[in-house]
Symmetry: C2
Subunit: 456 residues, 2 copies
Amino acid sequence: MQDTSETITKETLAGQSGDLAHERAPEIVEALNAREPADAAKLLRSLPAEKAIEVLDLPGLDNTCEILAELPKDTAVSLLSGVSDDRAADIFKELVEPLRTTLLNGLNPETRNVISGLLAYPERSAGSIMTTEFVSVPSSWTIAEVLHHIRMVERTRETVYSIFVIDPVKKTLIQAVPLRRLISGDPHANVLTAAPARKPLMISPEADRMEAARLISRYDLLAVAVVDGPGHILGIVTVDDVIDAIVEESTEDAQKFGGMEAIDEPYLRIGFGEMIKKRAGWLCALFLSEMLTATAMQSYQSELERAIVLTLFIPLIMSSGGNSGSQATSLLIRSLALHEVRLRDWWRVAVREVPTGIVLGAILGLIGVVRITLWQTLGLFDYGPHWVLVAATVGVALIGIVTFGSLCGSMLPFILKRIGFDPASASAPFVATLVDVTGLVIYFGVAAVILRGTLL
Amino acid sequence: MQDTSETITKETLAGQSGDLAHERAPEIVEALNAREPADAAKLLRSLPAEKAIEVLDLPGLDNTCEILAELPKDTAVSLLSGVSDDRAADIFKELVEPLRTTLLNGLNPETRNVISGLLAYPERSAGSIMTTEFVSVPSSWTIAEVLHHIRMVERTRETVYSIFVIDPVKKTLIQAVPLRRLISGDPHANVLTAAPARKPLMISPEADRMEAARLISRYDLLAVAVVDGPGHILGIVTVDDVIDAIVEESTEDAQKFGGMEAIDEPYLRIGFGEMIKKRAGWLCALFLSEMLTATAMQSYQSELERAIVLTLFIPLIMSSGGNSGSQATSLLIRSLALHEVRLRDWWRVAVREVPTGIVLGAILGLIGVVRITLWQTLGLFDYGPHWVLVAATVGVALIGIVTFGSLCGSMLPFILKRIGFDPASASAPFVATLVDVTGLVIYFGVAAVILRGTLL
């Protein structure tokens, strides 16, 4: 579709919008994403307002800003007033000036304040993904009154499955009552009779959004209340927002682990320059550090000249260190993210990784020795008169390097976390680079000991 | 806690269980996880049955099998009969014989059949994470009747937020009615009057569980119906199960990308031997393929002897190929997982990666040339009379290798998917190894051209 979108005429658009109007919003989003913003805007306008709002309400819609820019101001404003305020805030985050201010001023003062309030919360905070559309009732109401209230607001509130009970005087949150408990309660009893035994779980708007995600998945909630210092409820984070957050975070982590800056757009949508920017930074940083290998090699030039045979195994040995390091890093990044391992556990990890590394290194070392012996004895290649010592060098070096790689790779996430960085920025290439230089030093160190008096 | 758990006496246990009984189930799980199975079992027994069941119902509980083994058979059976059947099935999956059969036979026939049924579904299928505890009503009922029914079952059903309406004759699923629409509907009207316009979303029990996850997050559902061929509802997959599945999958992907088999236990809980097994396999496979670099180097031995200076840049150049490859792979693995990119898009990705690689390679090549020129002119190191040609070799080789790395790394996930493997098994070390050998060939190939007649 994307490739033919330019050729779509008004007629076909109209025709399609006719069918589209009967589609589910997510399907319409897909159709819009396959079009240029201009066409998408036309299509959006041709939809019934209610449907268009539903579509705009979905985070999956690409180029939302470009599409809004194509719409007449009034249409854009009325659509934005319709979408849930947390989604509207997300959209405004990405809008560029002057459109941003124009549209924001177009909204009625109340909505504008709500959205400006949401925009004020830091990126990735619970506040930034919460919605202010929730059902709250005074604790003086009866269950019947609450149910009646829900019937009134049902269509306009994003979620009615948790009802938040407020102290009528202090206006603070005192309970969260699940809807299912309300309907099985006695209508004439006070709403609090349907409340669970314990206080509701709350989170501060400044807390990390993944904290909200952990609460919701840990306690199997549909929504968690976001409250300020004094305990007034500001909004709720709902389970669907949390799923989006979890997926987004793991995508970013995967990209970071691959050794690049996280990109927030689908692969095929991100611009060429943007793509270069996201990848060149880390690549250059890694390249510059990796230059130390050249420096290291230079300092071993005399050994190299005397024992060319050593160079043959350099890539093999270095990559093994990088690989074992990358294994350890990926393991620990996740364990830290899932809180399976705490910062204070670093030494317990270290005392596990060292023996693990030694065993893994010994396995690889053995394979290496066998390989050299075979090639030599089968006459496939001549590693020279001291081939046994060369084999020994490779074997011992592998044990040292794999052990160092595992230790290095497992500690890196802890170090990053300790100094306040995201452990997930410890990428596989990052670890490999760290290990490479040391790998060379270990290799030539071992060689110096084993080959002294013979090759070196 | 973990370290002192051996010293805990019955008294303290009893004491603690007293406090624990008032804790939320997830907190109790944490306390149990910090103990040896034997102690955890004692503690579990000392809890009120209802609470113990709540605890056992949480997926977060470690060593569930060992704990059950410590319990008297009757206690274990009665607890297992209490937990939700999907969780029970998960537990039975991990139980070892003969305990498995013993406990399974202990259950009442009905529960046993349900659980055996769930156990029959393939790993990672929607059926394997669904619950058979849902509310279904005949389409002949009124809203009042349905609400009354819900009040009756509320305590025993895992979720009552979607009510599934069944054809009274064919017994097939015809609608899913959200609870909130029921309570705002007219009590005397038929239940279907509260149903949404369109048919409910359904999924087959054999479908991948991530398919269910995508449906639920795409349509912001609380549960999706699992139906057999004829359209009978077998169970539902709820949003909380889906969150667990998403987190589990991204952990596995992260570990696989690190170049190891996915482990399903927390880092600190997995045994030493198990850890070696999970890591050694890939490490050896990579080592064996990486041996090709030694073979490649051997075939270039004469060049190496004539131009030692070339060896100095081998680690630098090879790592750059691996890094760019790992970037591209992590990007595409996620894009494929999120369905941003389809298999058929491979060529669109390829035509993006080649220019990207050329630009990135040129940037690194430039840095490399500058580095060599600086060291030479500042007299930090002598790359010989032909240092300009050496610099040129490094620069050109980098363009070739980074381009090849990006292309290779971006295509690998497609190839794996095409031949029916999980794209996520394309790990960073895997790509690096792939690129290393070719990197050497490119490097020496470029050298042969540029340095012919001078160094070579």
